[in-house]
Amino acid sequence: MSISSLVLLFVGGTVTGTIGAMLGLGGGVFLVPFLVLAFDLPMHQAIATSIIAVIATSSAGASINIERQTVNIRLGMVLEIATVTGAILGGVTANLLDGEILRKIFAGLLLIVSIAMIWRLKMRNGDVILHTDGSLPGTFRDEASDQTVAYTVKRLPPVMLISLLAGNISGLLGVGGGIFKVPAMTMIAGMPIKAATATSNFMIGVTAAASAFIYFSHGHVNPLIASPTILGVLGGSLLGVTISQRIKGTALTWIFAVLLLAISLQMYWR
């Protein structure tokens, strides 16, 4: 592999990691299309690379969120039973499917994500109804509102079911699955969005690890591709978190939602 390919993978990882973190999506949604469309990588290798990148960004982010006490560790452990089970099934299924089929399923996922991104904008602007009579209580200091927020978790079974689906998609397509879990945790379980996002991010590393060795054992982890890409994604995700605190995200979300729609079509028709 040439130096130019190495640099391109690193830069691509940095850009996709930055955009993913700015939009709160994780890198996989942009990384897999980059590796497939720009680098002509087989779908299974692109997914395997993305899964390891998800572990890196989740682990780095979770260590920060744990210090901020926004992660509900007990809830995360409960939901991980569902996400890990789903991810193992997803990883096994993906390795039975042809790359062409996976590419078309991924195109469908991008379509859903682009719609969900716009829908999430409306959700962010509304009030979150918190409950104090559920289970698995959590408390954190919200610096933006200078408030200490206390909450409990309601309606756990449907959230577990959605987590199973999110884990399955993670193992099948190499994304984090937060786009499904965060709305479930806020709208169904009644968690504040900061705690939901931090807990989802905490979980996706373990979820991704559940399918990582399945791809590894099938020879889909190419260290020469994965190494520079993951370093880029890791740096990009840290950069993205910093940038996202300084810019207003509404216009940006619209731009990338439309971009994802275009990538979705390109992934489907390629």
């Binding site: 560790i73 039973i81 918190l130 200091r141 933006a144 206390a150 054992s217 190494s227």
Partner: protein
């Protein structure tokens, strides 16, 4: 996100139990060590493969797990093996995180969550054994 409904409570933060704080501290430490340790190995692997002589360019062949382990145990390994070792450390970091949680909940005598952590850990180990068998 600063909008919370009237249903949210403004309360004084109760200090976490010592053991819970230990879970958080250990978990954070394991995650940081895993990520930055693996990043260091990957960087060393890339430098060994591309920058240091005599290799001017790296092979695109994917080494097998037995090759990697064999090279590490013999002490003579190249850049690809270092990169692979970094990636394996990264993939194993979540396993360690769950193991830490299991240990901490057990030390706390919180058997319900120790049991939940054990189920997650067994699922992960089962998948690992199934994959590498």
């Amino acid at each position: 996100m600063g909008d919370y409904s009237p249903g949210s409570k403004k309360v004084d933060v109760e200090p976490s139990p010592v053991s819970s704080r230990l879970v958080e501290r250990w978990t954070g430490l394991v995650l940081r060590l895993g990520v930055w340790g693996s990043a260091l190995l990957i960087v060393l692997g890339l430098l060994t493969s591309w920058v240091l002589p005599p290799e001017s360019s790296a092979s695109t062949e994917i080494p097998s797990i037995s090759t990697v382990l064999g090279e590490i145990s013999s002490g003579s390994f190249g850049g690809a093996t270092l990169m692979f070792a970094g990636l394996i450390l990264l993939m194993l970091t979540p396993f360690l995180r769950v193991l830490i949680a299991l240990t901490a909940f057990a030390a706390e005598r919180d058997w319900k969550f120790a049991g939940i952590s054990l189920v997650v850990f067994l699922l992960l180990v089962g998948e690992l054994v199934f994959s590498l068998r």
